[in-house]
């Protein structure tokens, strides 16, 4: 129980968050963070624990989003039912996805998932009669306040993390890790690797699809470019997992928080701090610097990725001892 103290405290903070911080913008950011916790956890299951590094998780995300969206758009059923359905639809997609990709290993597997992701995106764009093509799906948000969405996102994130924890403590968890470590040996001692890979993928797909339908309900606008995006969803999922820590339960949570915060921090220039500084000191040099800081958010992101991979390859959580040593070392140096 003691080892769960940390996460439980965080959970407590999260529960109280929207009542303490009433600024809708920050609530919006936290909702995004929670969504990424779910996506990252899903990816972590299939990649971090089972060793099958997927570059195509957007396929599940998009399926979940469109399942919810089409329910509302074509059948007039509230998109909230889509939450239940989105995860399931994503699992349905996981079957052919796995069937195609699991016969491949390593780099080839990754490329195949990437290709499937792109195929899904193209299908969604071209099949206008089903998905509306690039017109996308627009729904009106059910609630004006962000608080209900926040709690739904929180529930989804908690489900994701708890699922990962329970699965990894069970027998399935052992099988997944053994597949990651050495698939052939696992097969030879009688583990049906194909079966367990599929289970892992289905779980990952379910969590990611759930996040997708949350996205549809909350953002209320999707189009193929947004929800099947290779760069913004699939690769971001990988980065969340890697930066946070693959193969750890809380890694994706930390990763989600870091990635979302860093990218918004730079896009808005320190949440407006840069703008205040510029207003106080309106020198052209300062203004130029401010402009470049704000436009450099992708650049900083890339640099962050490079640094993390070089120095913290197991992520913040995975390499926590190393990171702590590094921080303490730096502090000792200053004294």
């Amino acid at each position: 129980m003691k080892e769960n103290a940390g996460p439980l405290i965080v959970l407590g903070i999260l529960l109280l968050f929207p009542w303490v911080i009433t600024d809708q913008y920050y609530q919006h950011l936290m909702i995004l963070v929670l969504m990424w916790v779910a996506i990252g956890s899903g990816w972590n299951l299939i990649a971090g624990y089972t060793g099958q590094v997927s570059f195509g998780d957007a396929a599940f995300f998009g399926t979940g989003a469109y399942a919810a969206g089409l329910l509302a758009f074509k059948l007039g059923i509230s998109a909230w039912w889509g939450l239940a359905l989105g995860g399931l639809m994503a699992v349905v997609i996981a079957f052919p996805f796995g069937w195609i990709c699991f016969r491949l290993r390593g780099a080839y597997f990754a490329l195949a998932t990437l290709a499937l992701n792109e195929v899904m995106r193209h299908i969604a764009t071209i099949w206008e009669s089903l998905t509306g093509g690039m017109v996308g799906i627009l729904l009106m948000q059910t609630f004006v306040s962000k608080i209900p969405y926040y709690y739904v996102a929180l529930v989804i994130a908690v489900i994701a993390v708890v699922t990962v924890q329970l699965v990894m403590q069970s027998r399935w968890g052992y099988y997944f890790v053994s597949i990651r470590e050495d698939q052939d040996t696992a097969e030879s001692i009688g583990i049906d690797t194909h079966y367990y890979k599929m289970i892992s993928l289905c779980l990952a797909a379910y969590l990611t699809g759930l996040a997708g339908s949350l996205y549809m309900n909350y953002m209320s606008f999707i189009d193929p470019h947004i929800v099947f995006s290779l760069h913004d969803i699939s690769i971001m999922a990988i980065l969340v997992g890697i930066v946070g820590g693959v193969g750890t339960v809380y890694g994706p949570a930390v990763g989600a928080f870091v990635m979302v915060t860093v990218s918004e921090l730079f896009r808005t220039g320190g949440f407006g701090l840069v703008d205040s500084v510029t207003k106080a000191i309106p020198y052209p040099a300062v203004m130029l610097a401010a402009k470049y800081i704000k436009e450099a958010h992708v650049f900083t992101f890339g640099v962050l990725v490079i640094l993390v991979i070089l120095f913290l390859p197991n992520g913040i959580v995975g390499d926590w001892p190393k990171l702590r040593r590094g921080l303490l070392f730096w502090r000792r140096q200053k004294a």
């Binding site: 195929v119 490079i306 070089l310």
Partner: protein
């Protein structure tokens, strides 16, 4: 008949250019077995160099070739030596960290170019006064033909290099079995660095050739990286001739798909072919011919 022939010509010529893009990647993947998702971004850098040389020095893009190739060689060497090789030493759960490193590198390269050149589209006008010649009513683009010829030349040169020179043989040894090569006295780390340099150099040539036909903006890299993968897988990792085969096949598939099915399916056709090859012919063309 006209439609068919013109589509055929289009496909083959585009295929040549694609092959040049894929050549670098197949070499890198064959030797080091890493997925380089920054391949397109390296090409982008070469294209910016070509643009700068043209814009400020008035240098004909074809003469910019040696400059861009040299620069990219050293850039590739730098990336491999300081960013990718160190990853080999690092203990991590997933071997795929290298791929993500290339994602980060790609992002950084794109943003640096965006910072220097802004997001505006840049282009270099076609150096030929009349850009096409006609044979029997079928139009051939001069710039594309030049690129095709150059692709073949590079392939032949690379093939000869790998087969006949010492360095080439060392590279093939490392590709076959890195441990054994090391035991035989080959400095595998150095070979990998050089290979990355050569691979980058090849994609630089592709970029310079592409400049007069197409245009340039910082985000141009992504789609070309994906095409390079398709070509690499089609042709077989490490196979130089396979790259030509893969490139031309992709070019033809896209052209015929665009003509007879619809241009919006163009990308899908490449992707589906990619998946089919991955599933049913995992060694690519190489497996069929042992080249």
């Amino acid at each position: 008949m006209d439609v068919f022939l013109q589509t055929l010509v289009s496909g083959v010529l585009t295929g040549g250019l694609y092959a040049l893009i894929g050549l670098g990647m197949t070499l890198i993947m064959g030797v080091m077995n890493i997925i380089n998702l920054a391949h397109g971004q390296l090409m982008m850098v070469a294209m910016y160099i070509t643009f700068v040389l043209f814009h400020y020095l008035g240098l004909d893009p074809y003469f910019a070739l040696p400059v861009s190739c040299t620069f990219l060689f050293f850039l590739g060497v730098f990336i491999q030596r300081y960013l990718l090789n160190p990853l080999m030493q690092v203990e991590s759960i997933l071997p795929e960290n290298q791929v993500l490193m290339t994602v980060g590198i790609g992002m950084v390269l794109t943003e640096i170019c965006r910072f220097i050149f802004t997001s505006n589209y840049k282009s270099v006008p076609n150096p030929y006064s009349s850009p096409t010649f006609f044979i029997g009513g079928i139009s051939f683009s001069k710039a594309m033909c030049t690129a095709f010829v150059l692709a073949v030349m590079f392939t032949v040169a690379l093939f000869w290099f790998l087969l006949k020179t010492d360095l080439g043989r060392s590279i093939r040894a490392v590709a076959q079995d890195g441990e054994a090569a090391r035991l035989m006295g080959i400095d595998a780390e150095r070979i990998k660095v050089i290979t990355m340099g050569i691979g980058s150099m090849l994609v630089a040539a592709a970029g310079t050739m592409l400049m007069p036909i197409f245009y340039l903006f910082p985000d141009i890299g992504g789609p070309f990286t994906r095409k390079a993968f398709v070509i690499t897988i089609l042709g077989g990792l490490g196979s130089t001739v396979g790259a030509i085969f893969g490139g031309v096949t992709l070019g033809l598939a896209e052209a015929f798909g665009a003509t007879y099915i619809g241009k919006d399916y163009e990308d899908m056709i490449g992707l589906i072919m990619f998946l089919l090859v991955l599933l049913f012919l995992p060694g690519g063309f190489k497996r069929l011919t042992k080249v």
